[in-house]
Symmetry: C3
Subunit: 341 residues, 3 copies
């Protein structure tokens, strides 16, 4: 993967603050996998299970743990966490997009919007009244920002992002295409056989360094705000309902749904397609595995599950049929035990 910022192995090790072993003058132009990297690319070995690939690699240098370096003759950079070191190295070769200041002539900016001269507003973007975009921020092609929103310093709205109303982004927030922040929360009251809308008067607050995936939705609050603290990472197609509060450094994988007013702690990991019911609390440092359902508060850190893995359908159907009679069978076991006493 060619990059615009070539570095020698010595420069790279120094920039990463890590120890180099081998040739300090290898010129690296980018990163690659152990199998695919060429002599001007950096690779990494994060798990001993891939050590066989190390012998065969053509990479100019490899990031690895000291214990995995033994016996390898090529140039290496030693790291306690090679994957994190790789992430930092790759970011040196491929830095984040930098704003090209200015408003594209095909953008539509409301006269009451405030755009910092050091912000970039892309083609066919639209920015509403009383919204502000700070210095260094990028509002990509086709984004729609409604009224009373704030885009913080160095944010990147990649393209076609929508901030509906009263959405405030901290600094360095990245949002991927199709994401919708600040749509009406789903607040309904039944009244005489018809639904009444409950006006959604809150907003959305997103902390510094959050990332929000493609086509993810985060509704605005009913009265108070929906909140993501700093460094929250959301993958694609996630639904965050109104008045949810997500603690700092929590990450959620694709297709997760979080219902209204749930409060999720810091450093949680919610795996793909898991669901979190409304009006409950999950404490810090909780992991929920894929396709699991959290319907009561979790008050102790740890890993929680309720997903079921597939088996042959004909076998599964027999088990699923028994599951529908499970309480009866449990009672029969209890009865058998009584008779045996």
């Amino acid at each position: 993967m060619d990059a615009s910022h070539p570095l020698t192995t010595a420069e790279l090790a120094q920039r990463l603050g890590l120890e180099l072993r081998g040739d300090p003058a290898v010129r690296l132009r980018g990163v690659g996998s152990l199998e695919g990297a060429g002599p001007d690319e950096l690779a990494f070995l994060s798990s001993p299970q891939y050590r066989a690939r190390l012998a065969a690699t053509r990479a100019g240098a490899v990031l690895l743990r000291e214990e995995d370096a033994a016996g390898h003759v090529g140039t290496v950079i030693l790291a306690r966490d090679p994957y994190a070191a790789y992430a930092r190295a790759a970011a040196l070769f491929h830095p984040r997009a930098v704003a090209r200041p200015g408003i594209h002539p095909a953008a539509v900016v409301h006269p009451e919007a405030e755009i910092d001269p050091a912000a970039e507003i892309g083609p066919l973007a639209c920015i509403g009244a009383r919204s502000r975009v700070a210095a260094g921020a990028i509002v990509g092609a086709g984004c729609v920002i409604g009224e009373d929103c704030e885009v913080g310093r160095d944010c990147e709205l990649v393209a076609r992002v929508t901030l509906v109303t009263r959405v405030r982004l901290g600094a360095r927030v990245r949002i991927h295409p199709g994401a919708v922040l600040g749509a009406d929360g789903f607040g309904l009251a039944m009244d005489g056989g018809r639904w009444l809308n409950v006006p959604q008067l809150g907003g959305v607050r997103i902390g510094d360094d959050c990332e929000i995936g493609a086509n993810t939705t985060i509704d605005r609050g009913a009265i108070d705000d929906t909140v993501l603290e700093e460094d929250v990472r959301l993958d694609n197609l996630i639904q965050i309902a109104h008045n949810v509060h997500v603690g700092a450094h929590t990450a959620m994988a694709g297709c997760v749904g979080v219902a209204g007013s749930a409060r999720i702690g810091r450093y949680c990991m919610i795996a793909g397609a898991a669901g979190v019911a409304g009006h409950l609390e999950i404490c810090d440092h909780v992991t929920v595995t894929a396709m699991s359902m959290v319907s009561q508060s979790i008050r102790e850190p740890g890993e929680y599950s309720s997903g079921i893995s597939v088996m042959r359908s004909r076998d599964w159907r027999r088990n699923a049929a028994r599951l529908r009679q499970l309480d009866g069978f449990a009672r029969r076991v209890i009865a058998l035990e009584r008779e045996q006493e």
Copy 2:
């Protein structure tokens, strides 16, 4: 939450048709929660479990049930359903957006489209041939309306909504950003080892007063239309496949999926991330709880479930392993019973 329409407590009670107790001259400017509302705001108490908050509230007036008003010294408005009354009150303070008639110069309207002079077409919206937009309707920024669509009176397409083709909206339909109505149904036929597309020739019909959430998708029908009757409420990230029929006043929470040709009754409630298989019927007044799967018709009103709540992963894994052997264990129970006879 400041609003543009201040009202006195007496005016408000009169507009709601409810009984006021206390000071008729409190000037209210908006609504808030029991904890957060100030002296010029209205709060509500919908459940006795929050009565402790009532004593401490600074709200100018509180909507509540008569039985919860006993002993409270502040100004109250009595309602049998305080949440519904709150919804109506909040809508008085914060009325829905009203169309600002006209076509934004940065919109692209096909010469064969018909836009009522009392409709609002926002910036960077695009409207195709033979589509019509009625009086009072708002087509927000970045919306794309294809050919042969109809947007009824006082509809609101908030922003970046897509109506692909042959989509007809009744009156007062609200659609949130990223929603896609009228995309091709997923109709395929295998032919000589390759997929053939089955042309999707139907449309989508949406009844009056429906609401459709952000990034929700509703496909058009194969031959006949996909139909939502009046007052159907869909949250975000819902998939409605081709030829589905949803009865009036039914509500679905986020991440629900409904497969092709399913027929769902009136006044149903489908909770988050539940799934409904194709070619089946669900009768009126059915509730399906979160993450449940409906794979056969439901012919009696009531509440149905199949979701499983999380437990500690190490405990869950043991149970899930037994679940894979459940039929065997059931047979062993039966054998034990036989031996005991």
Copy 3:
């Protein structure tokens, strides 16, 4: 359903290469269902269970199996697979959209983009540097194509599709509104208590004849590409994570999620809302039923399941409570067996 290409029954049978029985001169203008079709429309009977509708149909001709034609007096066209024949017939009456060459004046095309003169670029579309659009391709209204993308011959991006960067589409690929291809994969490394982004340097490669549904997301790879081979069919609201590889002719229904680096074979069918974990393999010809979770590799063709169908909530709750104790009950059954020996 009226079409622009009327055909006689004789012409139609000849175009389809099928045998006609009855009147060769019926003028057909389109297709319909057995119940809804009129005398100038073609219907089809694909299953004997609908034979009762055959007697009552007003359709000008019916596609059916020879064994279902017995006793029917109307004009019929015989097909071994009437549904596939219907798909081909409907495509004759309603051919796919054809590009109207040219770039709409309200589109924004980067000077370094290459647009074939025989391609159609719709209003408010935006195409970035070094991206190419081939002859016959349609880039619909509001699409955003970033940098270094390729749109192959006769592709159709219906409207508001986003190709972020390094996305290459083969020929005849159709993408529905709201789909996002080539967004950053969800690659994170924890470093000193904060998340680090792992730059996503790969792209997305989509084979010929693929179809991608509304609001579906396909992330670009971390180092190598995310790949769909030819004729893959994805429904709406599907998440395909980075470095997933999907084999030719595989189809996935709505709301499926596939985690990173999963490798799915050819001719697989993944039903609605199923989930596939990362870093595993599914061989060719595997069917996964709705709402099932694949968390280990599948090495033999066949049908796999883990979804559970609803029952009355009160009954389900009793069973679900027992499920949480299942390992204990299984041990009690084993103990009972031991005592009986």
